[in-house]
């Protein structure tokens, strides 16, 4: 190979250009603003089918109403990977103008006071449900508006199977186990209880969804847990029940055989098709059924995770996610971003949400009303709320949630770790989280 000096220069230049290109692309982020009287803002949402479809529909309706504003949609993965990306983008100032993210403890971890725009003076704030206001506020300032409905963490079940076997909705854990055993005896091809550890987050429902029951037995539990007081630990009752239940359904052989490699979407399909009877899950997962088996949506009902005593059995409710405006957004863009946030919760925006995001519980803002043809399980959820048998999930009452809960519960639910050891591991994980957050008393 003969390399003349000119050739070397050409190669070097090309190499430098190749190196510089991605850098240039990086800095382009939020730079491209108003062009020809038009303002462009960007909106970040999660890359799963349901969220990106909703984002697109909201943007389309918004641009129609405000022809001078264009919205560019960006997506990123959800879950813990998404949490990390959020923090990185906010701390490096490369966050989109408007972004969609969890409310509650995960929202608090984003350091809203310095990274987000204060939305307290927006017109829609007065319409918010009080519970929601508290999970998007820091020091009395509101930073977010809701997207989508609240939802329950409970047991989804196939009503057809329940009808066929003449089963009743269980109100105690023992009834739940005996129902499951009847289902197992009636048809070996139907899994009594579905578990889907290929999506590790799904392993947490029997613990997180049990919180309303803990709260019913000990209303001070969340406070004591946050402040490291008393015996509010997962190794102790009443909180230990969740770990025990996770281990019990596996040891009694009530779980589907392919629990280790099944995904959340596959489990929802199995539930809709009747190859699985019950699934401890978030009611928000009904969106999967609406997309894949729309005819089966009303075959799925929901009941609260049963407690040992029927009188304690209550439903755990998650507040909706929020949309937030980055603190870096200013001027025309800030106005446009605020308009977009307001639009999402205006009657037109609610209409889009009703059409795209499957409603999974009541809305948290009075301007949004559920459509008449909601999935049947919302009726079940509303009944618990009307009866006063519901409580917000622990993550809305305490900033502490150990990051390894899902992994520990996969181990417990697969029979690798005994329930007691798993609970002890999680308490250690919680301690670490509390210390990292700098909470007093740990």
């Amino acid at each position: 190979m003969n390399s003349s000096p000119t050739r070397k220069v050409v190669i070097a230049t090309a190499a430098l250009a190749a190196l510089a290109l991605p850098l240039a692309a990086c800095s382009g982020g939020s730079g491209s603003s108003s062009s020809g009287g038009k303002v462009q803002i960007s909106y970040l949402t999660q890359n799963d089918a349901a969220n990106s479809a909703q984002g697109k529909a909201l943007i389309q309706a918004f641009e129609k109403k405000y022809p001078n504003i264009t919205v560019k949609m960006d997506t990123q993965p959800g879950g813990t990977q998404g949490d990390n990306l959020m923090k990185t983008k906010l701390s490096t100032g490369s966050m989109d103008d408007v972004f969609h993210y969890n409310s509650g403890s995960l929202f608090q971890a984003l350091n809203p006071k310095t990274t987000m725009a204060d939305l307290s003076n927006e017109a829609w704030v007065k319409d918010l449900d009080k519970n929601f206001t508290s999970v998007v506020s820091v020091d009395g300032k509101v930073y977010g508006a809701p997207v989508g409905t609240s939802f329950a963490g409970a047991i989804l079940y196939n009503k057809k199977i329940y009808d066929k076997l003449g089963l009743k909705v269980p109100t105690t854990w023992d009834e739940f186990i005996s129902n499951s055993e009847k289902i197992k005896a009636s048809d070996p091809n139907v899994a009594p209880i579905l578990q889907s550890y290929a999506d590790t987050w799904t392993s947490q429902l029997l613990v997180l969804g049990d919180f309303a029951n803990i709260n019913a037995q000990d209303p001070k539990w969340a406070d004591n847990y946050t402040n490291n007081k008393g015996d509010a630990k997962y190794v102790n009752e009443p909180a230990f029940a969740g770990f025990e239940h996770t281990a019990e359904i596996k040891s009694k052989g009530l779980v589907n055989k392919d629990f280790a490699s099944m995904t959340n979407a596959q489990a929802m399909d199995a539930l809709a098709k009747g190859t699985g009877a019950q699934y401890p899950m978030l009611s928000a997962s009904i969106a999967t059924v609406e997309q894949n088996e729309p005819d089966a949506v009303n075959d799925i009902g929901v009941f609260a995770i049963p407690s040992a005593n029927a009188s304690d059995t209550s439903l755990t409710i998650w507040e909706p996610n929020g949309i937030y405006v980055s603190a870096k957004t200013s001027g025309d863009k800030l106005d446009a971003a605020k308009k977009f946030v307001a639009f999402v919760n205006s009657p037109e925006g609610c209409d889009v949400q009703n059409k795209t995001g499957a409603a999974a519980g009541p809305y948290s803002i009075s301007t949004c009303k559920l459509p008449s043809d909601v999935p049947a399980l919302i009726g079940d959820i509303q009944k618990y709320i009307a009866d006063g048998k519901a409580s917000p999930a622990l993550e809305f009452l305490s900033p502490i949630k150990g990051p390894n809960l899902e992994t520990i519960l996969v181990a417990v639910g697969s029979g690798i770790t005994p329930a007691k050891d798993g609970a002890a591991q999680y308490d250690a994980d919680v301690k670490k989280q509390a210390q990292q957050l700098g909470i007093k008393g740990w």
Partner: protein
Amino acid sequence: MTTAVAPTGTVRGDKRAERSAKKRKGIRSPYPTWFYIPAAVLFLVFFAVPTFASFYFSLTRWTLFTTQFIGFDNFVQFFQDPALSQAFVNTFIYGFVTSAAKVVLGLALALLLTSPILGRGYLRAVVFFPVLVSTIGVGLTFKALLDPFHGPVNAVLGFLHLPQPGWYTDPNLALLTIAGVDIWKGVGIATLIFMAGIVAIPSEYFEAARVDGAHAWAVFRNITLPLVRPAMGTVIILSLIGGLRSFDLIWAMTNGGPGFSSDVIASVIYKEYQAGFFGLSTAGNVILFVVVTAVMWPVSWFLNRREAEL
């Protein structure tokens, strides 16, 4: 015996004298000092500064927004991690299994691919091909192939009435399955290094052996194996370092699961990052750095000493 030792002693003594002589004169270099400045600046900015910065951040509680100096608390906490003791054991199992398999298989394949066989060039390419593919891609592909219920591998095993193991869902098997995939992917590099080593052996040795009527095994044991030892040292060092700090394949296939059964130090560190414990995970990285150094230093010293004696 004594006579045999004496000359080596003098040779070593000579070398030492030479070295100290050099020191006295100052290091003579073919390049002027300014010639080193660009490289030194690069080294400082991209290697030295981040290294020292990470030592500092490992001593802080760091949220990306604020830092707070907390001394050695992070290290204490890292060692209290419930997953860590298993991750330590797994790291060593993974490192040694993959390294050993790459040495044995790499040498065997190198012997095959340096002998006059049909389609040698093509076969060499086939062995090297997995090295070029993205690790994440390989991980996801094998995850699909080895799916315990819907994957083709278990479908074939089922057809043959053989047991169908839960390759990466069985806690006892998950780590070894990943190690197997790692070996498949990485053996090409080992083969390449061994091939270079074998080809570098002067052909006179083999001719002489053949004239003496040596069998294939005798040739391998007495010529190839000793003379390929420098290549073997390189393969062991490279694959052991790679194995001890491996992460991408494990993450793509199991995320360290089921439970913590295929967690290694690197995946525990990554989980700490995900949880937002940036100071804590930096402390983990410092520990990983120390562990890899502590293992590799004696290994590399041992291998190089053997090489020098040959």
